[in-house]
Symmetry: C2
Subunit: 209 residues, 2 copies
């Protein structure tokens, strides 16, 4: 189902709902009201009901939500059951950290390969993911499904690499380069991790607590 006109703010709350519901499941909570869910998440109950109404009816008035069902429905909306294919470009410290510690499978992504220029890394593997030579990148993308590319490469080459990948047909980027990437193709999606925004938010809170 294709959805349109759902605000960015609502979309960004979905993963938070999913995370909270996963935690409630693990605590054995079976049913929860929008009021209680809101208290756990510091969101109003009416905001929650409004958010969910964008995607259909999940609960029953006055009866609350079945935690496991709601988690599964939101997971489905987020695509955690879609087995997306992902590759990582740049197997340096950050690439290593993601491969070692980030549970890609819980988000519905399968990491098929990592690419690097460093010949000491090429030919090896991290957590079962092969590290391939950057030279093989174009051929790889032409012959394999790649839904998302994770960019953990230096800033200076970020936009140029993105342009090359978009030319090859890549439409999804998880961008750790701290460069605001862009494309004239509206189909291309960039999701940027801005570490600095996060640290500055903390800085503000420290100064104003």
């Amino acid at each position: 189902m294709k959805r349109e006109n759902i605000s960015d703010a609502v979309i960004r709350r979905l993963p938070r709902y999913y995370r909270q519901l996963t935690e409630l499941c693990s605590r054995g909570v079976v049913r929860i009201s929008s009021h209680s869910l809101g208290e756990e998440m510091n969101i109003t109950a009416s905001q929650i009901r409004q958010d969910f109404s964008c995607f259909g009816e999940f609960g029953q008035q006055g009866y609350g939500y079945n935690v496991e069902e709601l988690r599964s429905e939101i997971g489905h909306i987020l695509g955690v059951d879609q087995d997306h294919h992902l590759i990582i470009i740049g197997a340096g410290n950050l690439g290593h950290a993601l491969l070692h510690n980030f549970p890609f499978h819980t988000t519905g992504f399968h990491v098929d390969a990592a690419f690097d220029l460093n010949q000491n890394l090429v030919g090896g593997s991290i957590k079962g993911v092969p590290i391939l030579d950057m030279e093989e990148l174009d051929d790889y993308i032409k012959t394999n499904t790649v839904d998302v590319v994770v960019l953990t490469i230096p800033q200076a080459v970020a936009q140029q690499m993105a342009d090359r990948l978009i030319e090859l047909g890549v439409k999804g980027f998880w961008n750790f380069t701290n460069v605001e990437l862009s494309s004239s193709d509206p189909q291309v999606q960039f999701e940027n991790i801005h570490f600095a925004d996060s640290l500055l938010t903390l800085s503000y809170r420290i100064a104003n607590r």
Copy 2:
């Protein structure tokens, strides 16, 4: 100046304004209207004026903002001129990646030390930051100013480490452990980097583009 009752959404937009204004400065833009700034950032002009009004008057009606002045004022609000002191706990792949690539100084933070259990790392340094033994942590915190602790340690020990640090007086945490940390002390600030939320947002957009 202590500010109160400013919404989380406004606070989270401040670093984005700061980033955008930094980029405008580097492009040599001297003056910008709220309308043009809004277009660059995909925010309405009235939202921008409303956000800024929380902090006083920055522009002149009908005349736009001086980019450099506005950047400097927002930077000041965010505390980039405060020289906060920060230590990193966990000098593994992610700790390394941050030390090597994240420009802490541009956000007003000085990285004084990193701590790790690994005796192969202890005694060394990364980009001039000494790596100290975890055994020295308590003494270090008792005798030095530590505004923020960056947690890049395994999930299993995250809350326990946070509790220990809070007991020692630490009030700011930049948390990469993917564990939702908590404290009964309202003065303690946690800023969590949730990689999964970001990737799931991308997953949603790919499925619904």
